[in-house]
């Protein structure tokens, strides 16, 4: 059970970083984009996004700024930092290696 949660956390982090790599966004926007990109196949409690966002901010991979949203309401925008960009590449590489390995194992079996 613990393992599954860790995996999910790591995946979620990656997705958030990837999303923000394109452009700065607020939490709602990230949530929408993830649903879009994963074509609704990833069912994540929307709320669980926020602890992840806050954790990533503490770690220094992303930073936040309050700004005006599309309809002029106050929203908290997140942006990838330099370190975050690095981390994204590192994690992406790790993920790809993992998926290649898993695929190979599945193919040989």
């Amino acid at each position: 059970m613990g393992k599954a949660i860790d995996l999910l956390q790591g995946t979620l982090d990656l997705l958030i970083l990837k999303t923000l790599a394109l452009e700065p966004m607020h939490g709602w926007g990230i949530s929408q984009r993830i649903q879009q990109i994963s074509r609704d196949s990833l069912q994540v409690q929307q709320g669980s996004l926020y602890p992840a966002l806050h954790r990533l901010e503490q770690q220094g991979w992303i930073e936040s700024e309050w700004g005006a949203s599309e309809n002029n309401r106050k929203a908290k925008y997140y942006r990838l930092t330099e370190a975050g960009r690095q981390q994204l590449e590192v994690e992406t590489a790790k993920w790809e290696r993992l998926s290649v390995a898993v695929t190979q194992i599945l193919q040989t079996a």
Partner: protein, 883 residues
């Protein structure tokens, strides 16, 4: 910009919470909008949104968790990293920790002393309401003076500001009947001593008002005396003991640790009853309004201020001056000062000087460590630059360096506190009794707190500079400019630190120099007599068993017997003993220039046996010494010292002049005394800049009490103590001999305080110089290392070794020069501060200043020369290849 905003929210939890709520609320609103747009009703839209979101409160809690955990995690990470870095450089870490330990340890030790002596309140109830009271003498310069008994009684009766006003004086009583006779040190006080101090006896009671009256003989024992002499007997209250061969009733026992006066080890307290009693032929001293000897202690009534007390007492003093013009014209005012300040007043300046000095030592230590850290940060600069470029936040880098500094400081602080404990053990005995309450200095909570505060402050002081500097590291310029480190000597921060060290070092060295010169002057100053080979002691003969005539006869016999002891060259008696604790100033009337009672001159008086002057080594300048024929039946005579002749009969021949002293033997009127001799001026107190006027009576003509005995010996004086005691016991076994001390011991005690101060300051100056030297050496060595290739180039181009040496030393000399200049200016300022503790001499002593500058300059040159020499000795080929 963004950092600053975040920094603000960091510390306001409500703000963060509010922002979190806003953020989640925004999300929910958007989801609700989307749901509405998809056709749901308001009700459904809301519910669906919440369901999709999850538990809002739980989410909020999880978000909050990430904040706290991250912070502590990061902190722990910093600490671990910091420890690793310190362990990787054991040399640096050791040097830094030791330097800090010395600096913080010294500060902690001195602060302990300051705390115990100056800051700790007196060990009585509500001690800030306790005031010392005396009279203010207005003759020439207003100066504080003591009170007489009648004046005290009037103050006590007429004041409106004190709950209690008490007074007392020291006394020495012989206890007999419990083993060998034992001399006890005690205090005679007015009845309400214990209520005034707010202390209750642990057994029995204090005194009653009636017990002040003549004839009462009651005593309260100290706890220690009760235990040691009376075995802690619970039945002691009500028992009679024999003191000075009179029966005293024990009425109480004081609580353990009770002391009054605070720095005197009193073993018992009794009342002033004896002072109300007439000595045969004389008035009781409690009726002598002109006999000033007392300081009073008062407890202010609640809500009364010290100014109100002063005003009230001044009214009384003025009234007394009008009522008794003969005795009180010169004291028309009173003084009131907090008791604690009065007690420790003299120690305040020296202790604050020490505290300042030791603070400067710490400053130098911090400068050293800052330089070391800067040097190390420079080495790690490339690493730092890369990290910064890769995204490590500047705040994080700064925090990491500060954590390292804090770790260093805490380690230094811990080591320093341990060091302080040992240092106190060594240093306190040196101070001895010279500073009140010194013995109570210890490492208590307040001191430990101070130590911790110091550690944190010092870590900020030396950690901030390199941290801020390093965090600005620019990767590009760093990688580009290889020889950048060579510029470090030109770096204003490092240069500034070295200048600071040299400046402070010079100030401390010159301060120590001034104190040492002062101490030498003090110890060499002419005492006016020869203090070597002198053994002194005192004894008392109770009035009940010895009439005055018998006292004198006893004393004669004693002198003969002591004189016959092998090893004794001569014997004399005098009161007060030079370098002892006693002193008496009494007015006199000059026959040629009579004056009214309130205008008469006064001087120190003494009474002595004929052989005293020879025994003490005081030369006869004119006239004659006393002889055995100067007794009650012959004309009254006096001997004066040169200082007396110079002050009261300047330019005249004083032999044959007559004066009427205020001091008389019992049952005699004041009468004319003829001056028959002038002797050399001897000091009574070692710290007097010059001997004061004294006039001496022959003991037989003023037999107030047995004078203190002085034996001039041919052998080491303390070896005769046993024989002296034996001789005394042969004359009367119930007469104890006490206060047996050599004159040199007494001198030591009197110079103990200046010696203590000078020794400590010299130590601190030594530390400071050593640290400054190490600092300069380090900076120079580092600079040379950084300029290796430059040196190689120069040498290859033909520069000789001397030229290279000169080039490197030039910069060091510049720093030294600036430091010395600033230091000299500050030393002059510091010298003025020291003036009050210097014994004679000027605070601007050019010899001391000159020597100090020379010392610091030479030390600095040496420190700079060593690495410079190494640089000049380099092989140019090796240097060129060095990167």
């Amino acid at each position: 910009m963004n950092h600053l905003r975040r920094f603000g929210t960091l510390f306001r939890k409500e703000e963060r919470d509010r922002q979190l709520s806003d953020e989640l609320a925004f999300h929910l609103e958007k989801q609700v909008e989307q749901n509405l747009a998809a056709g749901m009703s308001a009700e459904e839209a809301r519910r669906a949104a919440l369901r999709a979101f999850g538990g809002v409160e739980q989410i909020k809690e999880e978000c909050r968790d990430t904040w706290g955990a991250r912070f502590i995690d990061a902190l722990l990470q910093d600490v671990r990293f910091g420890l690793r870095m310190l362990a990787k450089n054991p040399g640096f870490t050791a040097v830094a920790v030791i330097t800090l330990a010395l600096g913080i340890g010294a500060n902690t030790a001195i602060f302990s002393v300051v705390n115990a002596v100056l800051l700790k309140p007196l060990p009585y109830a509500e001690p800030d309401r306790l005031m010392a009271v005396g009279s203010m003498r207005f003759r020439g310069v207003p100066s504080p003076d003591t009170l007489s008994y009648p004046d005290f009684f009037d103050y006590r009766a007429r004041n409106h500001v004190f709950e209690h006003l008490v007074t007392g004086r020291g006394t020495s009583l012989t206890l007999t009947g419990y083993g060998p006779p034992r001399q006890l040190h005690g205090n005679m006080t007015t009845w309400d001593l214990f209520p005034a101090l707010g202390i209750a006896p642990v057994l029995g009671r204090g005194f009653l008002p009636s017990e002040e009256a003549a004839g009462a003989r009651v005593a309260v024992l100290s706890h220690a005396l009760w235990q040691s002499q009376f075995g802690g007997d619970p039945g002691i209250v009500g028992r009679t003991i024999t003191l000075d061969r009179r029966a005293y009733t024990v009425v109480g026992v004081a609580p353990p640790g009770f002391a009054f006066p605070v720095n005197e080890p009193c073993q018992l307290w009794t009342t002033i009853a004896p002072d109300h009693e007439a000595v045969p032929g004389d008035r009781p001293v409690a009726e002598e309004r002109g006999a000033h000897m007392l300081t009073a202690l008062g407890r202010l009534k609640p809500g009364v201020s010290i100014e109100q007390a002063r005003a009230d007492l001044n009214v009384i003093a003025a009234a007394l001056a009008r009522q008794y013009p003969d005795t009180n014209t010169n004291t028309p005012q009173a003084w009131v000062r907090p008791e604690l300040a009065t007690l420790v007043g003299d120690s305040r300046t020296p202790l604050l000087i020490l505290l300042g000095a030791v603070g400067l030592v710490l400053l130098i230590a911090c400068a050293n460590i800052a330089n070391l850290l800067l040097a190390r940060a420079a080495k790690r600069e490339q690493e730092m630059a890369v990290r910064s470029a890769l995204g490590a936040k500047r705040g994080r880098v700064v925090r990491q360096l500060l954590t390292e500094s804090l770790l260093l400081a805490l380690m230094g602080g811990a080591a320093g506190t341990v060091l302080a404990k040992y240092a106190l053990g060594v240093v306190l005995p040196l101070g001895g009794d010279s500073i009140p309450r010194l013995a109570q200095a210890s490492l208590d909570g307040r001191v430990l707190g101070f130590s911790l505060l110091l550690a944190v402050l010092t870590s900020l002081v030396f950690g901030l500079t390199p941290a801020l500097h390093a965090s600005k590291a620019d990767l590009l310029s760093c990688l580009r400019d290889r020889s950048r480190s060579g510029a470090f000597l030109n770096n204003p921060v490092r240069g500034g630190l070295v200048i600071l060290q040299v400046t402070v070092g010079l100030v401390l060295v010159s301060a120590a120099g001034l104190l040492m010169a002062s101490l030498i002057r003090l110890e060499r100053s002419e005492l006016g007599f020869k203090p070597d080979h002198l053994l002194t002691f005192s004894f008392s003969l109770p009035d009940t068993h010895y009439s005055t005539a018998q006292q004198v006869a006893f004393y004669d016999q004693m002198l003969q017997r002591m004189g016959a002891l092998p090893g004794v060259q001569s014997v004399g008696g005098v009161w007060p003993l030079p370098l002892g604790d006693d002193n008496a100033v009494i007015t006199f009337d000059i026959e040629e220039r009579p004056a009214g009672p309130s205008n008469r001159p006064s001087a120190r008086m003494a009474f002595a046996t004929p052989d005293y002057f020879r025994t003490a080594g005081i030369p006869l300048l004119r006239g004659r010494y006393f002889t055995e024929r100067d007794d009650p039946k012959s004309p009254r005579v006096l001997i004066v010292n040169q200082a007396f002749a110079d002050q009261f009969f300047p330019g005249e021949d004083v032999i044959g002049k007559r004066i009427t002293p205020g001091a008389t033997a019992a049952a005699e009127k004041e009468t004319l005394h003829e001056i028959v001799g002038v002797v050399g001026s001897a000091k009574l107190f070692a710290l007097d800049p010059e001997p004061k006027p004294i006039y001496y009576f022959p003991y037989k003509q003023l037999p107030w009490q047995p004078p203190q005995v002085m034996l001039r010996t041919t052998v080491p004086p303390h070896t005769l103590e046993a024989s002296a005691r034996k001789r005394m016991a042969e004359l009367d076994p119930l007469v104890p001999v006490f206060d047996v001390r050599t004159m040199e011991d007494l001198l030591s005690v009197q110079v103990a305080a200046p010696r203590f101060l000078t020794l400590l300051l010299a130590c601190f100056a030594g530390f400071a110089l050593l640290l400054a030297m190490v600092g300069l050496y380090g900076v120079m060595a580092y600079s040379v290392a950084g300029r290796t290739s430059e040196i190689g180039v120069r040498m290859a181009l033909g520069a000789g070794r001397t030229a290279v040496l000169a080039m490197i030393l030039k910069q060091a000399l510049a720093l030294l020069a600036v430091g010395l200049g600033l230091g000299l200016a500050l030393s002059v300022l510091a010298g003025n501060l020291l003036q009050s503790v210097l014994f004679g001499g000027s605070a601007l002593d050019p010899a001391v200043m000159g020597l100090s500058v020379l010392l610091v300059a030479l030390t600095g040159l040496l420190a700079a020369y060593l690495p410079a020499r190494r640089a000049a000795a380099m092989d140019p080929m090796v240097a060129l290849r060095h990167e």
